[in-house]
Point group: C2
Chain length 275, copies 2
Amino acid sequence: MSELSRAVMERTFRQWKTQCLNKLDQSKKGSVDQHIEHVVSLLNSCEQYFTTSSCSGRVVLLDGPPESSDVQKQNCVWLLVSHQKCTADELVSGLAKAGRDAVLKFEPFVLHVQCRRLEDAQLVHSAAINSGFRNSGLTVGKSGKIITAVRSTHGLEVPLSHDGKLLVAPEYLHFLTQIANQKMEENLRRIHRFYQNLQSALTTEKLQTLQLPDPPSSQGCSQSPPDRLETEKDEENKASVYKRRRRRERHQADCCHGDESSGVQELDDCLDLLT
Amino acid sequence: MSELSRAVMERTFRQWKTQCLNKLDQSKKGSVDQHIEHVVSLLNSCEQYFTTSSCSGRVVLLDGPPESSDVQKQNCVWLLVSHQKCTADELVSGLAKAGRDAVLKFEPFVLHVQCRRLEDAQLVHSAAINSGFRNSGLTVGKSGKIITAVRSTHGLEVPLSHDGKLLVAPEYLHFLTQIANQKMEENLRRIHRFYQNLQSALTTEKLQTLQLPDPPSSQGCSQSPPDRLETEKDEENKASVYKRRRRRERHQADCCHGDESSGVQELDDCLDLLT
């Protein structure tokens, strides 16, 4: 890419960022979830990133038409939405209002980050994969928009009623609440890990950029990073634990057609960016 | 990118492809699932693609430690794996063998495609998003490996036993089997749509390349595409239906912090590549 076209793209990116951050939050809730405010702030403080949507993770109880018909969320009633741990009583109260097919879901953390350049997107993607968000991926639009989506494989989706009739016993609802709350805890641990991995990677990148003064625009995080040596050491340990885990998982070859050395290789390639 | 480095990258890609396709299939099953053989063949017949792993979609019953402890699949026993619709009897038989915490999952179609160039990856990604595989995304490794992962949001994950004790009634297992089978059907419909979208996009790209003779290497599918006009018309209709659906979904703003115009905008950018 020529210097000129790079400069034009970077100016366009800055315009997109200004427009996006000046807009009203158009989500139902209207604000960033408390559990991920620090993650969103960290990214938005970097000139190479801005977040376009996020959810810290939630338990939802949806009431809607059966699976075989239109399963779009707009035809559903939200009987319960909780971004915190929930109680079996809340679940029971929600279910009492179900008139169709109610489904309990745990929806983990999701984050969309628009990135200035492909290498900036790779950094976020790599931090996400290292933190356990294995369904993360990039989108590259024809207009030059690059977005990293941070997504987890970690879910729960349990049908609980059919035509308004409850299908399970109260004891099962208690058990299910525990499971959903455990998933919520694990989700928060992963978010914490992602924040640390991101901070660490941004610090490393900043230091590398200081050693190589050109291009200067790769610097640009306004938040001061933590003690680098401590963080990096922690990070190395964590990343290698994750690498080992993924290697073990790969040996299971739980995909149906797979090439062990290249099937999940993409993740390692991506990991190698940072570790 | 210079002509030389592009040529080097393309040679490297050809070597990767040859190595990958000459290797034994290292998955548990050892072969490509019947439902997606045509998709895998179509991609591997194109010089710009090869598949590295895939699963057509399956119902699995896993028995393992509770959620709070190590949830890695390697510590689990697979009580049931079915790539076809399954019966309640199969589920009941599987559960009879559960000694720990059994969980029923529907895992939808997943496919990893290594791509020669970023624009080749965008084509597959766009076809995937247009077909309803909304969790699809790219991975770009530092070695230049570009992989598109085709993934669905369409799942099911239901805890069924704790410490070997069944938590639900037989009627619920019948209902759950129906739900899982409906998800399997919808999954197959999306695979079919993905195949059609992919064929159509590859045909359009090929025709465009014929009009613009440079670079010649963008041609290269050995499978003959269907009647283009008919397919394209169908495709346009389908893609616009999907676009409308996604716009409707966006109005729900079911993410917690979201900017309606850019939150899921990435998908439209991506869609715009083809439609």
